[in-house]
Amino acid sequence: MKRRDFIEHVSWTGAGIAWTLSSTGLFTAEADAAMQGGVSFVQISDSHIGFARPENPDVAGTLKKTVDAINALPQRPAFVVHTGDVTHLSKADQFDAARSILSTLKAPLIVLPGEHDVIGSADNFLAAFARKDAPKGWFSFDQGGVHFVSLVNVFNFEIDGKLGPEQVDWVEKDLAAQKASTPIVVFGHVPLYALYPQWGWTTEDGSKVLSFLSRFDAVTVLNGHIHQVVQHTEGNIRFATAASTAYPQPAPGTADKPGPLKVPDDQLLHVLGYRTVELHREAAAAFADHDLV
């Protein structure tokens, strides 16, 4: 079974912005029989509810705008995944505000913690978004013939971007039960590969999980944390970070430090947004990054 080496896919957003995506194929020509119907979902990230600086004085407003745009999509997504930093400072009132906005989504919601959601402890995050099927925070599920793995790489006290041996062992066992032809989608807050370690944009033990993923025909890894879209491919693994719903950060190495980036007021909605992802049997998998204009 050979993976298609190269697929070009053009997807149009509701706002009329085209992204031409070159990627390795996400599906084999002889797709698995279990692969029925496919699945479409939405990724949002880094809402930083509680942030109140000039880079975006109304982060609740831009999150609401994001939710409204998702609710207006022509096709209702199977679910919406928030890849972390829902809040700015892990405060209970910030989680309450975030929950009240996100609860208006007309689709099931999956929320992963970012490091801003677990300052001091994970208690407030868990009170807001704990899942019964994820006693440790990480979990997996199957939908539309795709195996989804949701990871947490912000629970280590001294290192931001670490899974820890217990989670790494769990991932190894979870993936061992999957067929190589099953499409795999992985969620996590901090990028799993060394995107820009100088700014902490890496997961220390991410390479262990990437080694478990190497035997699969097609893997997609979706992260947040860096407040901008960066796509990257390593062999069978396609990585993509997401835009924030709150404020952008500088591109790697283009500033002295990471942190909120001030853009002209009329440009802010151009650099915030959400991502739709579609996985269809025997068709190109498609990402589309939509802004909030």
């Binding site: 942030f51 001091g120 942190g259």
Partner: protein
């Protein structure tokens, strides 16, 4: 010697009370800061000054002057500011001598140190 010890104890007790008052005053943007012997500024993903030297019972003010949120978190978890947004301040009284390494929980590569020396005995206490 004995005098020094009991002074140390009372300083520690006083410090604990003050620390309690400070943490009760949380969160952040402390409207009225208590006098401190040292102010550490957090700016451009760095703590300044570091290393810094103080004495047991001394209060330190930490100010986040950066665009980004940070924390002041001891490696041994003996103190933790939790999240400090731009402009937020946090105070801590050090009650035991030692070398305290601390870092930012949001950006763990930000590291700094405070050295706490035993309390300085005052001459008039000996008379």
């Amino acid at each position: 010697m004995h005098t020094t010890l009991s002074r140390g104890l009372s300083a520690a007790t006083l410090a604990l009370c003050l620390a309690g008052a400070a943490s009760a005053a949380q969160p952040a943007a402390a409207p009225s800061l208590l006098p401190a012997v040292l102010t550490v500024h957090v700016k451009d993903f760095k703590y300044n000054p570091t290393p810094a030297t103080i004495h047991v019972g001394d209060r330190v003010t930490f100010i986040n002057d950066d665009d980004e949120a940070h924390t002041v978190t001891a490696d041994d978890k003996s103190f933790d500011s939790e999240g400090l947004d731009t402009g937020n301040t946090w105070q801590h009284v050090f009650t035991k001598p030692g070398t305290y390494a601390y870092f930012c929980e949001l950006h763990p590569y930000m590291k700094a140190t405070i050295v706490v020396l035993p309390a300085t005995p005052k001459e008039d206490n000996w008379k």
